[in-house]
């Protein structure tokens, strides 16, 4: 599996003295996939990313990028990666152009000026701005520069840490469009984010870390199915609520002609229960990924 995967993490553990930052993590990311890597602060996301980049050495276990061991063959692994850190810590006296030139030159994949131009256009960062020093950049401009330096070598794997932090809504849209294009071209994205609506929108799968352990690994569709939905049933006549409800359904409100349920899982069994009732109309609330993820954040739940 590891030879086929864009990212393969096998039994990865990282300890700092008595503290375990990541524990026995197993994760595979397929080429062309966009994986949302979620978790509260201190859950182990950054530690995992730093092991992929060989900045940290695991206590046990292995990580591979396109079959290259991230520690033993780290140069080959890193040659496939474009990285955007959560914070762009770059000398403020450098110009944007210096930054792009330096990081393009350090990559073994050749950067094309055409691609850089396209990225500049997408993120509205013209040459005029690139001639300015970073100390004059706003947070959003630094983020745009960070995204351009990560994408400019057209790497096969993008590791993005909070990519839209500081971007305005228009630039967020530009970023989502870039991700869609990247996916179309077969690029893989390993993306850490706290913005659940964004993850829901752009990611194929979600991996959620809690206290260094993988608490959840599902597709976005599967997660939506897990979400608790609110169902409001309007009746034609005064009717008492059903005396028995299927597993996963709970009556949370009832008046003469309206029943409100919360349903955890598929709706079929509830609809079957309601068949004898004089149903005039029905409203089903949209399943929200956020509800499921927050449940896992709070603890107790496991995939």
């Amino acid at each position: 599996m590891s030879d086929l995967s864009a990212v393969s993490i096998q039994g990865l553990t990282k300890r700092y003295g008595g503290f375990t930052a990541v524990r026995e993590l197993n994760l595979e990311v397929a080429p062309g996939e966009i994986l949302g890597f979620l978790g509260l602060n201190g859950a182990g996301k950054t530690t995992t990313i730093r092991i992929l980049l060989d900045l940290l050495r695991p206590t046990s276990g292995h990580a591979f990028v396109f079959g290259h061991n991230c520690q033993r063959n780290s140069l080959r692994a890193r040659a496939e990666i474009g990285y955007l850190p959560a914070e762009m810590s770059i000398y403020p006296d450098l110009t944007g152009r210096d930054v792009l030139h330096l990081f393009a030159g350090l990559h073994s994949r050749p950067s094309s000026l055409t691609l850089r131009g396209e990225l500049q256009e997408r993120f509205q960062l013209p040459d005029r701005d690139l001639r300015r020093r970073l100390r004059e950049y706003s947070t959003g401009m630094k983020r745009k520069l960070g995204l351009i330096q990560a994408f400019q070598s057209d790497p096969r794997l993008l590791i993005l840490d909070e990519p839209t932090e500081g971007l305005d809504p228009l630039m967020q849209e530009a970023f989502y469009a870039l991700l869609a294009d990247t996916r179309r071209r077969g690029g893989t994205v390993f993306m850490s984010s706290h913005v659940l609506s964004e993850v829901e929108r752009v990611c194929d799968r979600i991996a959620l870390l809690r206290a260094g352990e993988l608490a959840l690994l599902r597709t976005v569709g599967e997660l939506r199915d897990l979400a608790i939905r609110r169902v409001r049933v309007i009746l034609n006549a005064d009717t008492p609520p059903p005396s028995e409800l299927p597993n996963g359904a709970r009556l949370i409100g009832a008046d003469a002609r309206t029943l409100t349920f919360e349903v955890d899982g598929v709706l079929g069994p509830l609809l079957a229960t309601l068949r004898p009732f004089p149903v005039a109309d029905m409203e089903v609330g949209e399943a929200k990924l956020e509800d499921v993820v927050l449940k896992y954040y709070r603890g107790g739940e496991r995939q």
Partner: protein
């Protein structure tokens, strides 16, 4: 080699302002010293100054006092004056602790996310140290040459090119030794201030140890521990050739520091 060369060029570019200003400052200092030496020479004041020195200083300097209290001696002072030594040790620490600063700020995350071997962080720093000291000492000797060519009183005995060369060479080795110590400490540090602070305090302690060792006989038994022990400008001014032992020990300290830095940096976790 394109990526490492680009990285080294980037680092040299970043340190150019500091190194350039240090080179200019110290070369101007050499010219000023030559100006002062010429003025004393013209007024015939060298013997008076020697007579005014406190007895313990005369005792410490021994017979070298006569040589030192001369035009050539004062000109040579530019290579072992306390402010010059302090500035150069400071420059050594500033350059050698760059890896710790890059870890602290997170800049290194972006550098090492590229396919660049870790050893280039240390190799780059050593190259910058070598280039910087060659440049600064080059500026100093240039300052000395310009000063001597234009400001020397007629008929005065000037310091030989060999003496200036030996002083500069010994000083470069001393600074590389401190660069090695600072780099070894920085390679294991997450904070530049910690690495710089530890090296600075060590340098001060070692300077005092050497100084006390020269004044107080019982301290001589431990004074050999100080790298400053292996920079002996008074002996050089007296005409003694640069001792091979000094060259060997200072080179060994520098190389041991560089080797320790390579090992530590290749094994460490990089987190800020």
């Amino acid at each position: 080699m394109k990526a490492p060369a680009l990285f080294i060029a980037h680092s040299l570019k970043r340190s150019r302002a500091l190194v350039l200003s240090m080179g200019i400052l110290l070369s101007v200092f050499q010219v000023l010293l030559i100006l002062v030496a010429g003025s004393i020479q013209r007024s015939g004041g060298f013997s008076q100054i020697a007579a005014m020195l406190p007895p313990f200083v005369r005792e410490m300097m021994g017979p070298s006092i006569a040589t030192f209290m001369s035009y050539a001696g004062i000109v040579s002072l530019g290579y072992f004056h306390l402010s010059v030594m302090g500035s150069l040790v400071g420059l050594s620490i500033a350059i050698a602790t760059v890896p710790a600063s890059e870890v602290e700020t997170g800049f290194i995350d972006l550098i090492l996310s590229r396919p660049l071997r870790r050893h280039w962080i240390i190799t780059r720093t050593i190259v910058v140290l070598l280039v910087s000291f060659t440049f600064v000492l080059g500026c100093m000797t240039l300052g000395t040459w310009i000063g001597l060519s234009t400001l020397s009183p007629a008929g005065v005995v000037r310091p030989s090119v060999r003496l200036i060369g030996m002083l500069a060479g010994n000083l470069v080795l001393l600074m590389l030794a401190w660069g090695g110590v600072a780099l070894a400490i920085a390679a294991g540090s997450r904070r530049r201030s910690v690495a710089g602070g530890i090296t600075g305090v060590m340098a001060l302690a070692m300077f005092l140890l050497d100084y006390i060792g020269r004044l107080w006989k019982p301290a001589q038994s431990v004074a050999w521990l100080s790298p400053f022990r292996y920079y002996s400008p008074f002996d050089l001014v007296m005409g003694t050739p640069l001792p091979g032992k000094n060259v060997l020990i200072l080179s060994a300290i520098a190389l041991a520091g560089f080797a320790a830095a390579y090992v530590m940096f290749s094994r460490r976790d990089i987190s800020h």
